[in-house]
């Protein structure tokens, strides 16, 4: 059986956020998995524009030790 899923809407578009701050860990960590990898937008439902901004923000955060480059996976 096929599930008919509701199409995800970009959260940054929903909240009308134009600038993603690389210092806001609380926002950025939502879009990163346990290992610290950036989650693809087909999973999060972000639009292309905001995914681009998000990735630069996360990468800037990594330089400043706000985000982790990688963390050990739980096994």
């Amino acid at each position: 059986m096929r599930e008919t899923r509701r199409r995800k809407v970009c959260r940054f578009c929903e909240n009308k956020i134009s600038y993603i701050n690389y210092k806001e860990e609380r926002v950025l960590k939502r879009f990163v998995n346990e290992r610290g990898k950036i989650i693809p937008r087909r999973v999060t439902g972000n639009c292309a524009k905001h995914q681009r901004k998000l990735t630069t923000a996360i990468k800037r955060g990594r330089i400043l030790a706000i985000m982790a480059f990688e963390s050990e996976s739980y096994r």
């Binding site: 600038y19 800037r60 400043l64 480059f69």
Partner: protein
Amino acid sequence: MKVYETTFIINPQMEDATIDNKVNVVSEIISNNSGKILHADHMGTRKLAYQIKGLTQGYYASFIFESNTDVLKILDRHLKLDETYLRHLTIVYEGDMLEKKQREKEQAQKEQAQKEAESENTDVKETDTKPVKTEEPEIKTEVKAETETKIDSEPVAEKPAAEEVKADTEVKKEVEPKSSTDNESLYNEEDEL
């Protein structure tokens, strides 16, 4: 001239005075080289996502400033040479926060200018009426009446302006929390992921 944002981490295992000094040195570098600091943010000690030189915490500070490209070289050199700066990052500032602040500033300036203009006008009128008083005693009463009405009208004219300003600030206050709540809604939707 572009607007830049530079953020850096300082080794927190020093005295507070020396940390402050390290932050001030950066701001001086910017301002001494024809740069203009628009916003300073001292975020304080914060946990690092990974260890740097065996440290788990770092003192964060950032400046948003407007400057030539010359400043960036000097700044970068300074931050690289001093080992107490653990990390630094300078980017072209793209946030909309700055625009809002500039708009607010401009609005405030306009309002002030209006107020000053109003007060000047009233002053001029008063000075005009004074010599008339001394010359012709008969008109005195009329002048008095005029001045009285003016005195009455002045506060009435000024009060609404003040109230407008208040109202504006209130609106701004109301607007700002809204954005934060929006952000919070962002944070709370974590479970879906």
